[in-house]
Symmetry: C2
Subunit: 253 residues, 2 copies
């Protein structure tokens, strides 16, 4: 049996939810409420010592890291709507895109997401309670990110992240000239990866950076991604985010 | 036919050289002289637009990124001394280690390597020539790294990198309790990855951090890695590094 510990259909959780729905795999949804910091509670840290979602439970085997989970699904269910090309060269290209998304896109979009949304959560907590919450976070880097979300990210870091997001969007725009997908004809984990981290967020976060004029192929690709039944099913999953946190285009308030 | 564009048997080049030798694959060695900045010359940038080694050429298909190259070799030659476990769960664990090495080890060891060695190259070049060399480097991040190598890395950044290297070594020491290898019984790409980025360098760079007393399993594992014929063959490859640059334990001079 497959079960997925996940949060809202965005970023890391979305990336695995899309793969599961695209492959048509039945799974049990185990919602972890990040607004209540459930990912740092002892019961969850037993499941993932890093205190992070999503985690796949396959008959008791626990798999972490979104790119690893999605490759695992391909290894175990290779014939069920494959999302990894059979040709080894194209498979390598898919993995180069995955590395690019994981190492050069995710963190930069994440910083803006934290700046605009998570900072509101971080500031809404009283100091005593905040320190108590911090003491439960396993990863030092994650504790530092929460502290920075509370105190505010530096403008030069936000600007550099914005620049790198634009570089990434330009690279995708160029690659889609050989489309319709990132690996040519083959709809793959690379599309799911970029869409989950950046494709879905960039238009809302930076409406002037990516437009139908500046990035016609990318904006068309985002629409084609959204129109896929598997993607639509993943995006339609439960979303408990406080509407006040939906300040994609604005500053933290 | 397989050919590998590579530099000295260290770090990124070593990682692919070990995989090729361990699998017993015949390949043509195409040495790229980093001391002469050949990786930024137009002929090489045609092969890899990022201007980085190693690159695998398989019958004309060019594969980049060390972890991707090593997975590619498993995809194409799965039965030749497999370095990736057949069991999907163990395969996922191998990939989690690969991500850890690529994202949380490599950069930190690399910073100390650049601080101690590449900075000597960067400072040995006259200003005019240095600017000319910089203008040929495709990646902005790489240009910044060269400039920092010339001006000097900040001590707090070096200290943070040292801390993260120690965290990584402690994690490997703990994992080897279920050894003899990182994925238990199976010698895998994870061992090759950590050895190439950190295992071989840490004892020379930080002789007091990793000792037979503090990390008995890790130091034993390094010796067992070195004793493997494939690893020994990779390490015995040509090394054109100026002996003056071998200041692993010292400061840049």
């Amino acid at each position: 049996m497959l079960a997925l510990y996940h949060a809202e259909p965005a970023a890391n959780s979305l990336k695995v939810l899309i793969a599961l729905h695209e492959k048509g795999l039945a799974f049990e949804s185990r919602y972890v409420d990040l607004h209540k910091f459930e990912q740092h509670e002892p019961w969850f840290v037993k499941i993932n010592p890093d205190g992070q979602v999503p985690v796949l439970d396959h008959d008791g085997a626990l798999i972490v890291q979104t790119t690893v989970i999605n490759e695992y699904l391909e290894d175990v269910f290779p014939d069920q709507n494959p999302l990894r090309p059979a040709d080894p060269v194209k498979r390598a290209h898919t993995r180069v895109w995955n590395k690019f998304c994981d190492e050069h896109v995710m963190n930069h979009v994440s910083m803006h997401g934290w700046h605009r949304m998570v900072s509101i959560i971080a500031r809404s907590v009283e100091s005593d309670e905040f320190e108590q919450l911090m003491s439960r976070i396993p990863l030092k880097e994650q504790r530092e990110k929460w502290r920075t979300a509370r105190s505010g990210f530096a403008q030069d870091q936000l600007d550099e992240a914005t620049r790198k997001i634009e570089v990434a969007c330009n690279r995708v725009e160029a690659a889609l000239a050989d489309g319709p997908w990132l690996i040519g004809d083959f709809y793959s984990l690379a599309d799911i990866n970029f869409f989950s981290y950046c494709g879905i967020a960039v238009g809302r976060m930076f409406p002037e950076m990516v437009t139908a004029q500046s990035h016609p192929r990318l904006t068309d690709w985002v629409e084609r991604m959204r129109a896929r039944p598997g993607v639509a099913m993943a995006l339609a999953g439960p979303d408990h985010t406080d509407p006040k946190l939906r300040t994609f285009t604005g500053e933290a308030r």
